[in-house]
C-alpha cells in the first residue's frame, strides 16, 4: 500500500507543479528562448535562489542550504528507490549511504530552523484577508495592505514550518528504534512512522523548493 500511495503522491505532486508552471508561469514575460532557459537553469543550479550576501553568515546560510538540498536528494533516492522501484526494504549499500547522510541532513535541518525561522515567521502583510477578518471581529485598527496576498511567499512559509514540524517525527522515529525501548510491534510502528513521515516530508520539501525557485525567479 505504501508503495502504491507513494508513487501516486509523487506523480501527483510533479503533475501539479507542472500544471502550476503552465497555468501561472513565474516570469512576467514568458521568455522561452534558449538563452533565457539557460539563464534560468544557471540561476537554479548555482542557487541564486538566495539573496547574495557577502557576509560570513550569509555564505554559511547558503552553504547549509545547498548541503541540505544535496542531502535531501541523496536521502530521497536511497530511501525511496528500493521501496518504490524494487518493492523491497532498503538494505545494502543504499542503506549505508542513507544512514551516512541522515545525520548530516539532521544537522542541516537544525541549522536551517535556527537561521530561517525568523524570516519565515508569519506577518500581517502575508495575507490581507486575515487583516480584514481581524478588523471585522475586533476593535483593532489594522491597516490593510494595498497589495494582494502573496500566495507564493505565504505557501513558502507554510511549507517551511511543515518541514520543520515533520522533521521531528522523521528523526525521532528512527533514533528511538535504535534504543532498546520498543519491542517488535513498536519497531514496526516506528518504521511505519518514519516511512510515512518521509513521504510527507519529501512531498512538502519538493513543493517548498519549487516555491522558493518560483519566488526567486519572480524577483529575477
Amino acid at each position: 500500500m505504501f508503495r502504491t500511495i507513494s508513487i501516486f503522491v509523487f506523480i501527483a505532486t510533479f503533475v501539479c507543479i507542472g500544471v502550476c508552471c503552465l497555468v501561472s508561469p513565474c516570469s512576467k514575460e514568458c521568455r522561452w528562448g534558449p538563452v533565457n532557459v539557460l539563464r534560468r537553469l544557471i540561476h537554479v543550479f548555482t542557487l541564486l535562489l538566495l539573496q547574495q550576501k557577502l557576509s560570513p553568515i550569509g555564505v554559511l546560510k547558503k552553504l547549509i542550504y545547498l548541503l541540505a538540498v544535496l542531502c535531501f536528494i541523496v536521502l530521497a533516492i536511497t530511501g525511496f528507490y528500493q521501496r518504490l522501484i524494487l518493492d523491497e526494504p532498503i538494505s545494502g549499500y543504499l542503506m549505508m549511504i542513507h544512514a551516512t547522510f541522515a545525520p548530516i541532513f539532521a544537522i542541516c535541518l537544525a541549522a536551517l530552523a535556527v537561521m530561517w525561522a525568523s524570516s519565515n515567521r508569519f506577518e500581517k502583510s502575508d495575507c490581507p484577508s486575515v487583516q480584514r477578518i481581524l478588523r471585522c471581529v475586533t476593535r483593532l485598527r489594522i491597516p490593510i495592505e494595498a497589495s494582494g496576498c502573496n500566495i507564493t511567499l505565504l505557501a513558502q512559509k507554510i511549507t517551511f514550518w511543515i518541514i520543520m514540524f515533520l522533521a521531528l517525527p522523521l528523526i525521532l522515529s528512527i533514533i528511538m528504534s535504535m534504543f532498546s525501548l520498543f519491542g517488535t510491534a513498536g519497531q514496526e510502528f516506528l518504521l511505519a512512522t518514519h516511512r510515512w513521515t518521509a513521504l510527507a516530508f519529501a512531498v512538502v520539501a519538493i513543493v517548498h523548493t519549487y516555491l522558493t525557485i518560483r519566488a526567486q525567479m519572480k524577483q529575477y
Partner: protein, 646 residues
C-alpha cells in the same frame, strides 16, 4: 410378524452401519486414546516371529532355546498397536521414496581414514548427501554399520536382492522397529551397554537386538560369526557363536506375561542416546557438567513436549516451514514462532506450555526476515573459529570403546552461520539455492571421497573398488591414535588417482576440503578450489537453545555488527585429509551470500552509531526548541488578538 420384520430391518441397518464404519476405521484399540492421560498397564505376552515372517510362538523363558521376541508381533498382538502405521513414522521411513524429505538434517557419515573417506549418506534426498548404494553399501551393510543409533525399521527391514546377503539376512533377521528404544521407561533399557542394542547390531544380531536392549533379556553370540547356512529357527546347540537369548524368569508371571514399564511420553534420556551433541569449546571444557542443557529442558519441558506425534509417529521436527509439508496437526504451533509468537486465529496460540512471548526490544524487524530464531538463540556462542563437534550418530557416543579424542573422525565443524538451503554462492549448483533462505547456525562436514567425473557431476566410486585400489597406494599410512586424519599428501593423491583411472571408466577425481583433485593430460595433479562436488554439507542446528539473556544481540548490536564479530568474520575450518591444506580457513560471511566488504563496512559503521544517536537527538531538540519558540509567539499573538491589544 410385524415385529419380526422390524427387528430384521433394525439388525440389517446396524450391520450395514458397522460394515461401513469398519471399512473406514483401520486403527487398533491401542492406536487411539480414549482420553485418559493415564498409561495403560502393559502386562503382556511376548511373541517371536516365525521363519515365515509371521507371528510365532509365545515366549516362554524356560524354553531350551527361546527365540527373541519380535516387537512387531508383540506390540500388535491382541490387536493393540498397528505396527504398519508406526513403521511409517519419521524415524523409520527414510527408505520410503514417497516421503517428503523436508529440511536437510544430520546425515550418516561413512568414514575411513585409511582411504581418505568422509562421506555424508542419507536415504532421504537431501542435497549434498549420497545414497548408500552410490558407494556400494547395501541396506544390510548400512544397518550393520549405522543401526547402532537407529531405532529399527527403515533400511533394517529392507529385503536384500543380493544372493549372499539374502542368506546372511535370514540368519541375522530384520532390524524391526524397536518400540522399547523410546517407550521403555525402565532404567535397565540398554541401548549402548556392553551387551546392549548397539553391540548386537554390530554383531548382526538384528533379530535379537530389541530383546537385548530390554532389562529382562540378555543376548550372547554373534550372527556375523556363524555360517550363512545356519538356521536360527532350528538352533544348533553345538554352535558356540550362535546368538542366544536368555530371559530373566522372575519377570514372567504364571501366564508367561511380562509387566513392561511402558510410557507414552518418552523421557529425555531415551532421546539423548541418539541425539546428543558435544561441542569442543576453545576453553577445553567438554564434560557434560561444564555445559548447560537446552533452556527448554531446564524450564521443565521434555523433548516430546515439542516433538510430538500420534500413533503415526509423524514426529514434529520443529522448523518453521514444516507446517507446509507435515501432516502433523501441531506442526504449525510447535516451531519456535508457533509457540512463542503465533498470533493465532479465534484463540490465542502464543505462549503454549508457558512459553514466554518475546518483545525483542531494540531489534529492527529486518532481523526476523534475515535470520532464523536459532541464529541468535541456539548452539554455541560464535567464537573466533569454529569448533569440532561430535554427535551420537556420527561418533557412536554412548557405546563401548568410543575414542574420546577431540580429533576423532568424522570431523563435524560448528557453528557455521550460513544461509539455509544454500551453502556458499559458489556452491549453489550443488545445493538447493533458496533466495528466501535465512541465516541459521549449521553443523558442517567437508566430504572427502573418490569419484569419477561424469557429465552431470561427480559420481562416487564404490567402496569395494576404492578399498582395493587405494589401500594398495596408501599402504604406509600411519593412523594417529586420536583417530584424526593421517598425513595425506598431494603426491599420494596423484598416485592414487593414477591407479584409480586404470580401474574405473572415466576420469577419476578426489574431492576433499572443498577442492576437487584430478589429473590433467600429462598426469599432473590439478586442483579446483570451491568445486560444487566438494561442497560442504550443512544441516541446521536447533539445540541447545540458550536463554534469552544469552542470545546474540542481547547486550548490544556489536555482538554481531562489529568488524571483529565472529558472526560474520569468524573462521570456518576447512577439514581435509590433505596435510598442506589443513590450515585453510574461510570466513563465516562467505557462507551467507553477503559481500565481505559490505559486511565489514556495515559493521564498521556501528562505531559511529552512538554519535549518530547523540547528533540526531540534539538536532531534534534544536528543531523542537525553534518550533516551541515560534509556537509560543503565535500563542502570544492569538492571546493579544483576543485581548484586542495591538
Amino acid at each position: 410378524m410385524k415385529s419380526k420384520i422390524i427387528a430384521a430391518l433394525v439388525l440389517s441397518q446396524w450391520l450395514f452401519t458397522y460394515s461401513v464404519l469398519a471399512g473406514d476405521v483401520a486403527k487398533l484399540p491401542g492406536d487411539e486414546s480414549d482420553g485418559s492421560r493415564a498409561t495403560p498397564i502393559h502386562l503382556i505376552p511376548l511373541y517371536a516371529e516365525n521363519e515365515d515372517g509371521e507371528k510365532g510362538e509365545q515366549i516362554k523363558p524356560d524354553a531350551e532355546f527361546p527365540m527373541p521376541f519380535s516387537t512387531r508381533w508383540t506390540c500388535s498382538s491382541s490387536d493393540c498397536h498397528s505396527y504398519e502405521t508406526v513403521s511409517k513414522g519419521w524415524h523409520f521411513n527414510s527408505v520410503d521414496p514417497n516421503v517428503t524429505a523436508g529440511r536437510v538434517g544430520e546425515p550418516w557419515i561413512y568414514f575411513d581414514p585409511k582411504l581418505g573417506l568422509q562421506v555424508p549418506l542419507s536415504y532421504r534426498p537431501w542435497p549434498g548427501t549420497f545414497r548408500p548404494e552410490e558407494i556400494g553399501l547395501s541396506a544390510f551393510q548400512f544397518t550393520r554399520i549405522f543401526g547402532r543409533h537407529m531405532p529399527g525399521g527403515g533400511p533394517g527391514e529392507v529385503d536384500s536382492n543380493d544372493f549372499d546377503e539374502i542368506a546372511r539376512q535370514f540368519v541375522s533377521g530384520k532390524l524391526e522397529v524397536n518400540c522399547f528404544a523410546c517407550h521403555n521407561a525402565h532404567y535397565g533399557q540398554d541401548m549402548g551397554g556392553l551387551g546392549g542394542y548397539a553391540v548386537q547390531v554390530t554383531r548382526e544380531n538384528f533379530r535379537w537386538a530389541a530383546a537385548a536392549s530390554c532389562e529382562f533379556a540378555s543376548v550372547t553370540g554373534s550372527a556375523a560369526k556363524v555360517l550363512e547356512t545356519y538356521d536360527p529357527f532350528m538352533p544348533d546347540p553345538d554352535e558356540e557363536n550362535a546368538p542366544r537369548v536368555t530371559y530373566r524368569k522372575e519377570r514372567f508371571n504364571e501366564n508367561n506375561e511380562v509387566l513392561l514399564q511402558i510410557v507414552r511420553e518418552v523421557s529425555n534420556e531415551r532421546c539423548y542416546y541418539c541425539h546428543s551433541d558435544l561441542y569442543y569449546s576453545h576453553s577445553g571444557d567438554t564434560e557434560k557438567w561444564t555445559s548447560d542443557e537446552d533452556v527448554h529442558l531446564k524450564a521443565g519441558l521434555k523433548c516430546v513436549d515439542c516433538h510430538r506425534n500420534g500413533i503415526e509417529h509423524n514426529m514434529i521436527r520443529g522448523y518453521a516451514e514444516e507446517a507446509g509439508i507435515s501432516q502433523n496437526p501441531l506442526a504449525a504451533t510447535s516451531s519456535c514462532e508457533g509457540c512463542h509468537l503465533s498470533e493465532g486465529g479465534d484463540e490465542p496460540e502464543a505462549g503454549r506450555l508457558g512459553a514466554p512471548v518475546p518483545t525483542h526490544p531494540g531489534i529492527p524487524p529486518i532481523h526476523f526476515e534475515k535470520l532464523t530464531c536459532t541464529a541468535c538463540h541456539s548452539g554455541p556462542w560464535p567464537a573466533e573459529q569454529t569448533v569440532l563437534t561430535k554427535t551420537s550418530r556420527a561418533h557412536r557416543l554412548g557405546t563401548p570403546n568410543v575414542n574420546k579424542a577431540k580429533e576423532m573422525l568424522p570431523h563435524i565443524i560448528s557453528p557455521v552461520f550460513a544461509k539455509e538451503g544454500e551453502a556458499v554462492a559458489e556452491y549453489s549448483g550443488r545445493h538447493a539455492a533458496s533466495e528466501d533462505g535465512k541465516i541459521a547456525p549449521h553443523k558442517v562436514i567437508w566430504p572427502a571421497y573418490w569419484g569419477k567425473l561424469e557429465d552431470n557431476g561427480v559420481k562416487p566410486i564404490e567402496l569395494a573398488i576404492v578399498e582395493k585400489v587405494i589401500s594398495g597406494v596408501f599402504t604406509d599410512l600411519e593412523l594417529p591414535a586420536t583417530g584424526d586424519w593421517p598425513v595425506v599428501t598431494k603426491d599420494m593423491i596423484a598416485t592414487a588417482l593414477k591407479a584409480l583411472t586404470k580401474t574405473v571408466d572415466g576420469k577419476a577425481v578426489y574431492a576433499a576440503g572443498g577442492r576437487l583433485y584430478s589429473l590433467d593430460d600429462s598426469d599432473q595433479l590439478v586442483e579446483q578450489a570451491n568445486h560444487p562436488a566438494a561442497a560442504p554439507y550443512m544441516w541446521p542446528i536447533a539445540h541447545n537453545v540458550r536463554p534469552a539473556s544469552q542470545s546474540l544481540g542481547v547486550r548490544y548490536c556489536e555482538d554481531c555488527h562489529s568488524p571483529d564479530a565472529s558472526f560474520f568474520f569468524g573462521g570456518v575450518t576447512i577439514d581435509t585429509p590433505v596435510v598442506s591444506e589443513r590450515e585453510s580457513i574461510k570466513k563465516m560471511v562467505e557462507f551467507q551470500d553477503i559481500s565481505p566488504f559490505y559486511a565489514w563496512a556495515f559493521a564498521f559503521s556501528f562505531v559511529f552509531r552512538p554519535w549518530l544517536k547523540v547528533i540526531a537527538l540534539a538536532c531534534a531538540v534544536v528543531i523542537a526548541a525553534v518550533l516551541l519558540l515560534y509556537a509560543l509567539r503565535l500563542l502570544g499573538c492569538i492571546a493579544k488578538v483576543f485581548a484586542e491589544q495591538e
